[in-house]
Homo-oligomer: 427 residues x 2
Amino acid sequence: MAVGIGVLGAGTVGGTLIRRLTQEGAAVAAKSGLAFEIRRVAVRTPAKARSFTLPPGVVTDRPWDVVEDPAVELVVEVMGGRDPAFDLVRGALERGKPVVTANKELIAARGPELLEAAARTGVPLLFEAAVGGAIPIIRPLTETLAGERVERVTGIVNGTTNFILTRMADEGTDYGTALAEAQELGYAEADPTADVSGADAASKASILASLAFATWVDPDRVFREGITGISPIDLGFAAELGYAVRLLAIAQRTDGGVSARVHPAMIPLDHPLAAIRGATNAVLIQGPAIGELLFAGPGAGGEPTATAVLGDVIDAARELRSGSQVVPRISFRPGSVVDAAEVPTRWYLRLEVADKPGVLARIAGTFADAGVSIRSVWQEGRGDDATLLMVTHEALEKQQRAAAATLAHLDVVEEVAAAIRVEGETE
Amino acid sequence: MAVGIGVLGAGTVGGTLIRRLTQEGAAVAAKSGLAFEIRRVAVRTPAKARSFTLPPGVVTDRPWDVVEDPAVELVVEVMGGRDPAFDLVRGALERGKPVVTANKELIAARGPELLEAAARTGVPLLFEAAVGGAIPIIRPLTETLAGERVERVTGIVNGTTNFILTRMADEGTDYGTALAEAQELGYAEADPTADVSGADAASKASILASLAFATWVDPDRVFREGITGISPIDLGFAAELGYAVRLLAIAQRTDGGVSARVHPAMIPLDHPLAAIRGATNAVLIQGPAIGELLFAGPGAGGEPTATAVLGDVIDAARELRSGSQVVPRISFRPGSVVDAAEVPTRWYLRLEVADKPGVLARIAGTFADAGVSIRSVWQEGRGDDATLLMVTHEALEKQQRAAAATLAHLDVVEEVAAAIRVEGETE
């Protein structure tokens, strides 16, 4: 007998999922041994034209109708956002209905409560699609690596910003032009704030950190810096110095606890993540026994994300049909979360300076006073228009900022024009 | 209460697993919430020195003691080989004991029977470590991609041969020298036959094809060609023409059915698998919705492989403690398996020729007669010592061989010195 599916939201991902379950149901059934029937779909505007057709009465604008319908055995939440998604997902779980969601914001913000609700009724809450689209990352972290003491997870988890950054580097265009192009190609939304501010990546960093270290890292504790301040000048210098610039989500275990952060970073050109271009996503997992594991693939888009949702739907349906209580794979223990501001990193700095005798000595002295050690310096241009590029040894952001503030008052320094973290090198 | 573990085999992987469960048990327990106790370990030579210490009476040379011991709740099989592993694993499953194995040869040869035995008693049979060491690939294929119509899986699944091939290409050394170096560094065994013949990769290709297409592909149906015939001359020409040479395991869906093959292949230098160097493994999965997914990491070695085994042990123990019947994730349906000989590929050919007028016309004519279309030709050297490099359009191996046999009889052709498949380009 077909498994009754209810879908909350029918945007890009939901629409693709519905189309695949209705039009390609036979192929899904042949491979999985399971038949599915879309019983209820909640949308905001039922009258809107859709890429799928469903029998009359299936589509509703009341999401609770989906959750409460006795014919709906399994709920797929692809509406996005925290509310009303939280109440709906919890409501489904409390009714003993498995839930599959692609909603990273919801899982990052309320994951522990929802996982507890799922454990209480013994049903699965699956969210493979919440991070990295079709790239399997949730199961690898929670199952295959359940016995590994993961040290660090570094991801390119936002395709929009990666597209913009690679475009800027390749074409020498500025941020605005690359963003407009991303919007034209459908890689960026009309309001790109969630992507370019790093908020989307921060939700994913919260989830990755929480699963990797089995300690919940609230998204509010994730340090976040977006890409809007990145200039093509620094992308050009980065390439000259042997670096690529990527917006990274980093979850890391330090002596004081776990930390998570999202910011643009320079990484060496031979770093595995430097090869990740355009809208592709990738996640690098490091640990003592595994060394490095790399996962790469399409991180967004209707088809890839719907594939991950569908995989979860099939898995949840298998459990549902078995009638047995699901064994929770994810649990958390108390642990310290460290602010990323307390995690030292290397820094690339670009200083517009006057090329006078003694300038480097005065600049180096200022850094030394702030406790920042300089690893290398390059000078570009001469005279009043000279540019000084520096890469520091590891330093805290506040140390780097203190040095920069003092530098800005030196008569030989016109401007500290850029400060970008450097990652992926060994100190 | 601790989960009672029995281990069959205490070589590199088994020894590492035992050491981690005994010496790092607290860390495993903290992350997984489960405690483990090694109750029985079967080894061939109990007197041998080991990297772990166990209480007296735990180590035995009778593997059935492990399987039959009532204190053993979960069996880890890391002895390798088909026999007696098959009887032991089946025996454990029949007794309702979950089994975790890293034994690709066993799973490739007898997987369906063992999965059936596991389904009958409702216990897990997990084998994430059988392909790609610590790289999660079994769960992604069977769970995340359960709803994807996978078209092709291409893997570098044998670290020994990848090490040898990259070494030969980098250093210009011949096969024998690179093999000796691999043996010295511990990447190759004293008897390297299983690796260099492609047999190890063929077991993995059988498993990858079977899981990707949900149709069992017996290892006897996997076409196999090893790397012993690869010459540094062709690695040099490959680099000049923009290719890297890799031993690939390819599982592919064709119109006639599914096929699996293992052979050296030239792939473009910008192909994702060309970046996989040394003993690293990688698997590329292609499908209509996912586009391309890449997984890369350490494919062998005690620590990475033990990590994958440990992940399965934790997962199986969770199921065991829940007391519920496990839902099988893997099932097969009847399907056609096509011999790889019937799958056309491009070919790189190296011909030692006499550079006389009309030579190319006669060679091209011979290829045309055999139904092989030439895509490009390069000539290296002049006069009697000329070398002709050709890349053909797609052709069957028998067509290529027919052309080569005829060519060998032409007075202008001294020798058809090499024939290597070309993969990863679009026709």
